[in-house]
Structure formats: C-alpha cells, structure tokens
Amino acid sequence: MGLRSQFGSLVELERRWRGQADFYLVYGREAFPSESRWPAPVPDGEVVSAPTSLAERSVLAERFRAQVSDHLPLLLDGLDDAAMAAYDAYPFRVYGITPTGRIAVPSAKGAAGFSATLERIDRWLKSVTGEAATTPSED
C-alpha cells in the first residue's frame, strides 16, 4: 500500500468527521528531491528539486494537495522545517490533537504506522464526540 492510499484514507476520515474535527495537510521538506541521495519521481514521473524559497515550496505543496484532496486546507512548513522537526514528521506523519492542544493520538512511523494512526484517530474521535461519524459522501 503506497502513500497515495494512506492519504486516501485520510481524506475518507476527514469526510467522516467533517464539522466535528479540523483536518490540515502540512507540507514540509520534500522527502526525495533531486538533491537527495535517492531521488524519487513524483507521481507524474518528474524528479523535483528541493525548494529554495517559500514560494517554490508553495508550488510543490499545491501539487501535493492536488494529489491528495483539493478540499483539505494546506499549511506550509517554513524553510527551516521547524514544524516537521517538532513533530518528527519526516517523511510523513499524522497526529490527533485535543482542542486544548495536547497530543491525543501520536503518530506511528512508516506507511503501516500512518494507516494504523488513522484508525486510532477514528476511534478517538468517536470517543470524544460520542457520535457516529457521518456517512462519507462525494465533495
């Protein structure tokens, strides 16, 4: 199962809990740009360069969102990658945070961990809202 599938599950989860929780995509350091030891192509086959400005990062971030969902709000980490560092979120992670700003669901690592974390977030949201998720529907 690839990351596209993982983020597909995220999009489904967001649909289920829309209106009861706020989901954000955070785009940070590109995992495998052309400058890395193991460059990897993006889904359209291009190998991208690491952004050197926030504007360049924004362009790649929008492409990332287009791959995931145009619906989800997109946040950009600064060029210092401070947010990714604070959450040890390289190359990808997902966290559930309470309305008071505490970690309710920490992220597990790896693609399998990402998927398992989404399941834990679903259970957590059920427990804190006391409600069933809404039936997913198309945007």
Binding site: F32, G78, P91, P99, G101, I103
Partner: protein
Amino acid sequence: MRSENCWVTGSVLALALLLGVPATGAEDQVCFADCSGDLAGERDRGPRLGSVAPAIEVFRSPDAGDAATLESLLRGRPVILAFGSLT
C-alpha cells in the same frame, strides 16, 4: 509516495544495508525505506500521548505570507495534522 517508490527505495536501501553502506545521509536525513519505517531506522521521536502539542508557525497556502500557529488552528474542536510531501 507511490507504492512503487516505496518498494524501489526499500530495495535499494536493503541492498545498501547488506553492502554496509550507511542508510542515512550526512545531514541526518532518515529515508522512508519500507512500509514499517524500520529498515533505514526511520525515527520515532515525535511528541508523546498526553504531552503538550509542540507549537508551530506555518503558512497558509497559497498565500505564503499568511502565518498560522497551532493556537490559531485550535477552534474548540479536535485538530488532525497530516504531514507529507510529493515523494
């Protein structure tokens, strides 16, 4: 990252590990190598359950000049932060 990237990268890194080549880069990057994240020692040092969520200052795309903090994202509801990149 596409699944084929996952497996190709994982295979390359597995071979590198067998040959004794360090799997991490000079700048302490940790590569996504396999679906468990274990093969190349993907780190697991993020914030723990119940801890205060680390403060962040990020920018709302596409208007990169519009900063946002975690506090500004918390609006009385749970928040889900999903970090990722194209590759």
